[in-house]
């Protein structure tokens, strides 16, 4: 089960509102490579994972991603506080505003609402871990692109932190593949799927 901690993993303190920037950053809340998908991907992959240490890794990274989701929500919230009518109309924020006011809704920057089609849970050890190794760089590139677009140092500072976490997670998932491989058929890791073929 989960308990709530009334704090963020990393401080989010954004002095100036900037709805245009919020309309990009919302993608890491509910976009195809965002933190909601990341947490659900890892936390859902745990059930089929046969190896205890990798159940642990999926749990621990999945839980950290929930903390990142909260940080992204805090960024979007702070960038859209106390908007004037002019600010609502600025920078392409109006389409989001008309649907969600300044609530934080899981959607991609390009407008599609969050969709489980952006994540994979295949129930196969190597396949799921390889999916995770691909997912972390996709999130990292999204953060690269947000850094290119961000003109607010308060925002860039937090995004830089989140981006670095993707690199560390990539490293751990890469190590996880090797730990898994060691427990599998040494001549052919694809001979069975240990997540399903329990007796082999």
């Amino acid at each position: 089960m989960f308990f709530y901690e009334k704090k963020l993993q990393y401080p989010v303190k954004i002095a100036n509102c900037n709805p245009k920037l919020a309309s990009y950053i919302i993608s890491q809340y509910g976009g195809p490579d965002g933190e909601l998908g990341a947490s659900l991907r890892y936390l859902s992959q745990r059930y089929a994972m046969p190896y205890p240490e990798l159940k642990g890794l999926l749990t621990d990274i999945g839980t950290e991603e929930l903390g990142h989701l909260e940080m992204i929500g805090a960024i979007v919230h702070q960038l859209t506080r106390n908007l004037s009518e002019d600010q609502i109309r600025e920078g392409g924020f109006a389409p989001y505003f008309v649907d969600h006011t300044t609530g934080v809704y899981p959607t991609a920057a390009s407008g599609s609402p969050w969709n489980a089609a952006g994540i994979g849970v295949k129930g196969d050890v190597i396949c799921d871990l390889t999916e995770d190794m691909a997912a972390e760089p996709k999130a990292r590139v999204t953060y690269d692109n947000i850094l290119r677009l961000s003109d607010d140092p308060d925002v860039s500072d937090v995004i830089r932190f989140l981006r670095e976490r993707e690199i560390v997670h990539f490293q751990r998932f890469g190590e996880a593949v090797r730990l898994a491989k060691e427990k599998m058929d040494q001549k052919n890791v694809y001979f069975t799927n240990p997540a399903f073929d329990k007796s082999r």
Partner: protein, 155 residues
């Protein structure tokens, strides 16, 4: 068991930002170098600021490399200690035999416990269960929700 132990390889030949690979590896499987034991570490505040405990894994992006903001406020120390625990926890998930890292985890866990008690005594509970130590339930409901701009709530 990983990380790869090759007696013919002097670990010092492999820099801190590098990891170990098997000398020969089956085809059609992805390989990431295993992080070595005893990797260099940042102090907790620097770890939080950089987004990793390990200098060898700190790989920043070229754009917007503004000076890293100094983190402050009553929560910063607790956040830094918890960040180190989180980072060491992920490391230990894939390096469970690294006794030195586990000892470090225990030391940071003791520091985190102290810092949490000090923070909660001054600023109120961080969890529902810690609210049992407060005067009333309103301590949990106080407007110190973390997405507010001001730490400890919009005043």
């Amino acid at each position: 068991m990983y990380p790869d132990k090759n007696p013919e390889t002097d670990q010092n030949l492999c820099g801190d930002a590098c990891g170990t690979m098997p000398p020969c590896a089956p085809l059609a499987v992805p390989y990431v170098p295993f992080q070595q034991t005893g990797s260099k570490r940042y102090a907790q505040q620097d770890a939080l600021q950089n987004g990793t405990l390990f200098p060898g894994l700190n790989l920043p992006f070229h754009a917007k490399s503004q000076a890293v903001k100094a983190l402050g406020g009553p929560l910063a120390e607790l956040q830094a200690l918890e960040f180190v625990l989180n980072e060491l926890g992920l490391y230990l998930d894939t390096h469970q035999d690294d006794k030195e890292a586990f000892t470090l985890y225990q030391q940071y866990a003791a520091l985190e416990k102290q810092a949490r008690a000090a923070y909660e005594a001054a600023n109120g509970p961080l969890t529902q269960s810690a609210t049992a130590n407060a005067k009333s339930w309103s301590a949990w409901l106080g407007d110190s929700w973390p997405w507010n701009y001001q730490e400890g709530g919009d005043k």
